[in-house]
């Protein structure tokens, strides 16, 4: 089959960028979207042109590296599917696909379809962990967790951090991501002791990064390749609300957000320079 790919090309993070149309003639319906871009890139390299840059790793929908907008929908038209798992048979012969990167201030562009998602790393760093004593492995059934609670935690833990939620949100909010990372720990007994601290720290970091806010419209959960439910955002709000009024310490530390793509040498380190 033949496809018309209208792809966002941007040489560097500061480059203006524009759409370029490519015709890919020999698309196999069994190919994935990324394999289709591989085929295109082969021909671009042969012609001596710059190949389209996109992120990928496992290509089996579990790593969270890949992702871009296809015809205005994050990860394309198939629900619960990453672009690496999206097969070309879902498109019609001769169809035009508009492919553009996630767009958000917090996800600034690096090149073509690649954006910087270190803002997510900052949110995880702020509190996406539990503190355990190291040493011998604990007894398997020392802490009993009901099946329903385990399932609820697992539903949230399925988040692969691809960024589609931010991309699909009209407000570019990271509420679904942060909610998932908070909820998958806070519903479990192991996550309870640090529940308040975690909610405060992760929410503070989410708000320090330049994401928008949640308006509960649900576009995020619609495009989520792991179908994380909107309920995790409520869990975040509940944890945050309680922690805000019950915490004893008033200190809340955040990591300075990145504002440009660099190797780290140009980072601001002066805390007073914020805002």
């Amino acid at each position: 089959m033949k496809l018309q790919l209208k792809i966002w090309r941007q040489r560097t993070s500061t480059d203006k960028g524009a759409f370029v149309s490519y015709t890919v003639n020999d698309v196999d319906p069994e190919m994935s979207m990324l394999e289709c871009l591989d085929v295109l890139n082969e021909t671009l390299i042969e012609r001596g042109e710059e190949p389209v840059a996109f992120e990928h790793d496992c290509r089996e929908g579990i790593c969270g590296s890949c992702g871009f907008m296809i015809n205005g929908v994050a990860h394309g038209p198939e629900r619960a599917t990453t672009v690496c798992q999206l097969t070309m048979r879902h498109f019609k012969d001769g169809q035009e696909l508009v492919i553009e990167p996630w767009r958000a201030r917090a996800f600034f562009p690096i090149k073509d379809l690649i954006v910087d998602r270190r803002a997510f790393d900052h949110i995880i760093e702020a509190g996406g962990y539990i503190s355990v004593s190291t040493g011998q492995a604990p007894d398997g059934n020392a802490i009993l967790v009901g099946k329903d609670i385990a399932d609820q935690a697992m539903d949230a833990a399925a988040c692969i951090g691809c960024g589609a939620c931010v991309a699909a949100c009209p407000n570019a909010s990271a509420a679904l991501f942060t909610g998932a990372k908070i909820a998958h720990l806070s519903v479990l007994p192991q996550g309870k002791p640090e529940r308040d601290r975690r909610a405060l720290a992760m929410v503070a970091q989410m708000n320090a990064e330049e994401f928008g806010n949640c308006t509960s419209i649900g576009e995020c959960t619609g495009v989520c390749p792991k179908e994380i439910p909107l309920e995790v955002i409520a869990t975040m709000n509940r944890d945050y609300l309680r922690a805000s009024w019950t915490r004893r310490e008033d200190q809340s530390e955040t990591i300075l957000p990145f504002t440009e793509w660099s190797t780290g040498s140009k980072l601001q380190s002066d805390p007073t320079s914020r805002d």
């Binding site: 907008m69 553009e100 767009r103 503070a204 994401f211 928008g212 949640c214 419209i217 955002i233 008033d250």
Partner: protein, 233 residues
Amino acid sequence: MSTTASAAALGPHRNRVVTFWQSTNGKKVVMAITGAMMFLFVVGHLLGNLQVFEGPEKINAYAHFLHSIGELLWIVRLALILAIILHITATVQLALRNKRARPIGYSRKEAINSSYASRTMYWSGPIVLAFIIFHLLQFTAGYIHPESRFIEGDVYHNLVSGFQVWWVSAWYIFAITLLGFHLRHGLWSMFQSVGIAHTRHTPMLKSAALLIAVAIVLGYISIPISILLGIVK
């Protein structure tokens, strides 16, 4: 220390109310609570107004009763004004933040999982506000009362003569419908904002929000429609 770990302390003794308000989540909690207060008013106002169907004596007596409680009425009014101010302030601040959060828009963007009502909150809200101002000027202050004279205290007369003007009724029906849209999303979303959600209960809550929104719209617009049709005169 890694290159990413440069921490910015927000100060040791920041007021928690200030911190809460400054977070997007805190503002949404404020919006939920103030929204709930305004919703209670919307219900109460509807129940009061429906007395128009019971005749002039009944509704005029009700209006007189409201004015007779004096201080209490003003406490409720001030609470509502405060709720409106907080609701709008939070909305404007969050909207500006959201606008900033996506400097470059998409060339193409599809909505696949959201309701029309939820996507148009930024439109329904301001239009309803404009309507409320007009509505207060017409029926509370009596400054705008086209084609008839506003009589202080004669609610029944003001109401009937006011809604006999077709465009007043049309504007009313339009604004109330938008209020319905606003409530259809807001009524369940407020629970989400304060952290109440459940896989089984939330779908029920959404259905309830739709039902309540429809009931409120029908309840309110029954008044101008009855007046225009001459059922109430």
